[in-house]
């Protein structure tokens, strides 16, 4: 029998994805930058003191952009840039909440539905199907007319309504991977099923998909919040700022900057969130 010397069984060294990193798409940086900016605004907004009554100054009514007011002022002379920053409060933490609920709930339900053969899995699968039949926006508007809820309740609802989508993705992954040799090998090596499911399948395999879905959920909450505030009956009410009720000023027919800036922020943020989620998912998938 052969000797103990290790033979030439090494392949040329390479780092994972080194090729892909060089061709990193500009889109990832661009969308990532915008998402980071929105998140930064959302984080610092609560730290900035804002008194909507004191902000009014009819001397500055509809002033254009200047050094003292970077994005100009609205019909009541309030600084638009500051209102944009404060406006993130309306969706930022609700968005984070919805994202967390959807991702954790979806991953957990997907894992249960895919792994458990018994009545638990059956029940979860049934519940998912039921939730999936609810049209999201209609349900949320209905909720608003019945309960007149706060943004956090709306966000929670949105998060729950996204659970079936995410659960279906995770469940498919769990089911296809369950018969993979390495999952079997991990069982034989004595790893706990919860560890295999949670770490090897959900974390390592589903992470890019979950990031993409999380971005979708966040952008959905942004969309719902701005839409409700725009329509005016629900959501953030004047004089408190929301990107949505800022855009609504276009109905008063006053000026250009007061509605243009928030409108651009809404469109760009949602587009960037979706693009960022896709870019991250694609990059992580290309690396494997």
């Amino acid at each position: 029998m052969g000797g103990d010397h290790p033979s030439q069984e090494c392949k040329a060294p390479s780092t994972p994805g080194s090729k892909k990193l060089r061709s990193l798409p500009l889109g990832l940086y661009l969308s990532g930058g915008i998402v980071a900016l929105v998140f930064l605004l959302g984080l610092i907004a609560p730290l900035i003191p804002y008194d909507p009554a004191a902000a009014v100054d009819y001397q500055r009514q509809l002033a254009g952009p200047s050094w003292s007011h970077l994005l100009g002022c609205d019909g009541q002379g309030r600084d638009i840039a500051l209102r944009i920053v404060k406006g993130t409060e309306a969706f930022f933490w609700p968005g984070i909440l919805a994202m967390t609920i959807a991702v954790i709930g979806g991953a957990a339900c997907g894992a249960c539905a895919g792994y458990m053969r018994g009545w638990v899995g059956q029940a979860v699968r049934g519940l998912m199907q039921l939730l999936d039949t609810l049209p999201r926006l209609v349900f949320i508007v209905l909720l608003c007319t019945i309960l007149d809820p706060g943004m956090y309740l709306i966000a929670t609802t949105a998060g729950v309504l996204f659970i079936p989508t995410i659960a279906a993705i995770c469940r498919r992954k769990v089911e296809t991977l369950a018969s993979e040799d390495y999952i079997l090998a991990h069982i034989a090596h004595g790893f706990h099923p919860a560890w295999i499911l949670g770490y090897h399948i959900l974390w390592l395999q589903c992470r890019p998909l979950l990031i993409r879905q999380a971005c979708t959920v966040f952008s959905y909450v942004l969309f719902v919040e701005t839409a409700l505030s725009y329509l005016g009956d629900y959501g953030v009410q004047e004089p408190w700022p929301s990107w949505g009720n800022m855009v609504a000023q276009t109905r008063e027919g006053v000026g250009f900057w007061p509605w243009f800036v928030p409108a651009v922020m809404i469109v760009v943020s949602i587009a960037a969130l979706l693009a960022f989620g896709n870019a991250i998912a694609r990059r992580e998938e290309a690396m494997r």
Partner: protein, 299 residues
Amino acid sequence: MRPLLRVRDLTVVFDTAEGQRKVVDGVSFAVGMGETLGILGESGSGKTISSSAVLGLIDDTPGVCGGEIVFTQGDHEISLLEGLDTCVTQRPDGLYVKDNRRWMQHVRRVMTPIWGCGMTAVFQNPRQCLDPLERIGAQVEESVGLAAPHLTAAERMQAALDWLQKVQMRDPLRVYRSYPHELSGGMCQRAMIAIALARHPALLIADEPTTGLDTTVRAEIVALFHSLIQESQASMIYISHDIREVLYLASRVIVMRSGRVLEEATSEDLLLGRGTRHPYTATLLHAADLPTGQVSETV
């Protein structure tokens, strides 16, 4: 020798297009403490299915339908197939019907304390058996961490590197940082061996661990098994269709064909041609060009 594992009359049945088929038909063998048992047989003879049945890894229906498997853990003898008869019924026409869900729950309950530290396995296709998205180092560390949960991160890393060294990786640090797809099959198999042995199993089941590897690498892997098993004093079931590998590693050999054990003999007897051989075993020995015939005439 005190047996670590006793298998008696193991029967495994699968549903196929042509009805039910007994893939393993009344297989019996035993593995003593610190002993290496070889299972020899052509492909399709039921070696993998028998060992998977012992490991509790068969989830196709009806699967294990009869027999007895007793595993000794510490001072306890655990009967792995206890309660099987309550899950399986044989209909008058001979077909087996099994409550598979209940059986799988039972298997999981019985096997959970055994998997890993009691018995563990190294399989045929090392690359597919490693998590493709995790670095080798992290995978070995997982195993080390399960065997010794109190270790700090730095100690775990050191232990993982030690294991990579023990399985004779040329550059442990580089392997530690590599993903499975960056390593050759032989190196993946070494990593698998490290992961399996890091749990200090009482019984290692190696199912054709050298199939698909280059000849030189095969010889190295076999030598590695030889030294590591001797060092750890674990028992091993070494499954192969290569009679040379089996005779080199195992002290006792069973020969399987079509789901049955044809013959059981010590390696020494086989090598020296003592006793009477089953014609199939004689063919295998002859094909491997081992000097059996002449010896058997003189003994």
